[in-house]
């Protein structure tokens, strides 16, 4: 599980379906969820989680894509296994892990220090903790 801390900046609701916009180090990210805890309002700081295998990596990306969250990041480490590779990505001071196939990591010729885009689907993000401070 990779987690990031962000602050809720907007909430759209249709019945029990919610779209939430969050401020993550000055950048807007979006998540979709069902029931939302009452304590989560605009201004609430939360911890978001996403499974590393749900974070895609794009390099030299052009065109449009339906992923709501595209975060410019830097590769800090690559651990290539036989089938899967764990790639550590850094955005500002936050490190998140992406698990992709080793075939993809080789075909993309990913290197440490390289700038890439981390892509997170809004439906794969979830709030795991409300941080009250």
């Amino acid at each position: 599980m990779s987690s990031i801390v962000a602050t809720v900046s907007n909430i759209w609701t249709i019945d029990s379906l919610h779209k939430i916009e969050l401020d993550f180090c000055g950048k807007s990210i979006f998540m979709i969820c069902l029931e939302l805890d009452n304590s989560i309002k605009v201004g609430t700081k939360v911890k978001l989680a996403i499974s590393p295998s749900h974070i895609a990596i794009a390099k030299d990306f052009r065109g449009l894509i339906s992923y709501s969250n595209i975060i410019d990041s830097t590769i800090v480490s690559i651990n290539r296994g036989e089938i899967l590779s764990s790639v550590e990505l850094k955005f500002n001071d936050i490190t998140i892990e992406s698990i992709i196939t080793t075939t993809a990591s080789k075909e993309m010729d990913l290197k440490i220090g390289e700038s890439i885009k981390a892509m997170l689907k809004a439906t794969e993000l979830s709030i795991i903790e409300v941080l009250n401070d």
Partner: protein
């Protein structure tokens, strides 16, 4: 001293009518078997038949000893069994130590068992001074006192809280490693089954429907799905362009997003299997 051979049939009369208990089973010495299955599937009856508390047709042979065949039917006290019940069944007027020595006057064995289960200091106490977990440990020790060839346990830990359950699981495991007693334990708790047993037998309507390792029997997966539960659809709610199925799984409700086609095909009240791949769930310490 080797295999246990059980081939037995008995007609049972339960709430859902007549049912034939039909068991054909071979157990290796030292195996720890978890006996699972829905209530009324015949688990407790099978234990009682093995203990000699109920008659049935067929045969029960333990190594070279015949417990039951044709006209032979050994009474419970002639079978070398230990029985642990859910409700402890201790003698209230005897101390812990006396409860053990009543079965067999082997003081050394009693001491050994009470030490393993951390009850030695309490040996002079009466059972009513003990907690549920301690009482069940006494009844486990007592069941081990005649060095049973077969230890039978009928949901021994189901009345205990989670912490005590884990502690007793560890003690059962320690005793099993030390004495290598062939054991059959009725249990519904997957973590208990996984933790303790080497083989799981699933009974349904009096018959063995599954027999394998805990992982084979308990991991309810099809294809590459690794996270799988059975539940019942309580409601299907349309929201925007998606649908939300409200499903009860065990003691809790979950919501699963489904599409229009699934919403049309699934019916409220229907039993369903909910699964996801092992890659998806998030895990967090409590």
């Amino acid at each position: 001293m080797s295999k246990i051979r059980i081939k037995t049939t008995k007609t049972l009369y339960g709430s859902s009518g007549e049912m034939l208990l039909n068991i054909d089973l071979e157990i290796n010495k030292g195996e720890f078997i978890a006996l699972s299955g829905p209530s009324g599937s015949g688990k407790t009856t099978l234990l009682r038949i093995l203990a000699g508390l109920e008659k049935s047709q067929g045969e029960i042979i333990i190594g070279d000893k015949i417990w039951q065949r044709d006209k032979i039917f050994l009474p419970p006290q002639k079978r070398k069994i230990g029985f642990v019940f859910q409700d402890y069944a201790l003698f209230p007027n005897m101390s812990i130590e006396q409860n053990l020595l009543f079965v067999n006057r082997d003081k050394e064995l009693a001491k050994q068992l009470l030490k393993v289960t951390e009850l030695y200091e309490l040996r002079k106490q009466l059972p009513n001074r003990l907690s549920g977990g301690q009482k069940q440990r006494v009844s486990l020790c007592r069941a081990m006192m005649n060095r049973p060839k077969l230890l039978l346990m009928d949901e021994p830990l189901s009345a205990l809280d989670t912490a005590m359950r884990t502690k007793l699981q560890n003690e059962i495991l320690t005793l099993h490693k030390k004495f290598q007693t062939t054991t059959i334990m009725v249990s519904h708790d997957p973590s208990e089954i996984y933790h303790l047993s080497s083989r799981v037998i699933l009974l349904q309507n009096g018959k063995i429907v599954k027999d394998g390792t805990p992982k084979d029997v308990l991991l309810k997966t099809t294809g590459s799905q690794k996270f799988s539960f059975e539940g019942e659809i309580l409601d299907i709610i349309e929201v925007d362009v998606i649908f939300i199925a409200v499903i009860s799984i065990g003691q809790q409700l979950v919501e699963v997003v489904i599409n229009r086609k699934e919403a049309r095909e699934l019916k409220i009240g229907q039993k369903v299997n909910i699964s996801t791949k092992a890659f998806s769930p998030n895990i967090r310490s409590l």
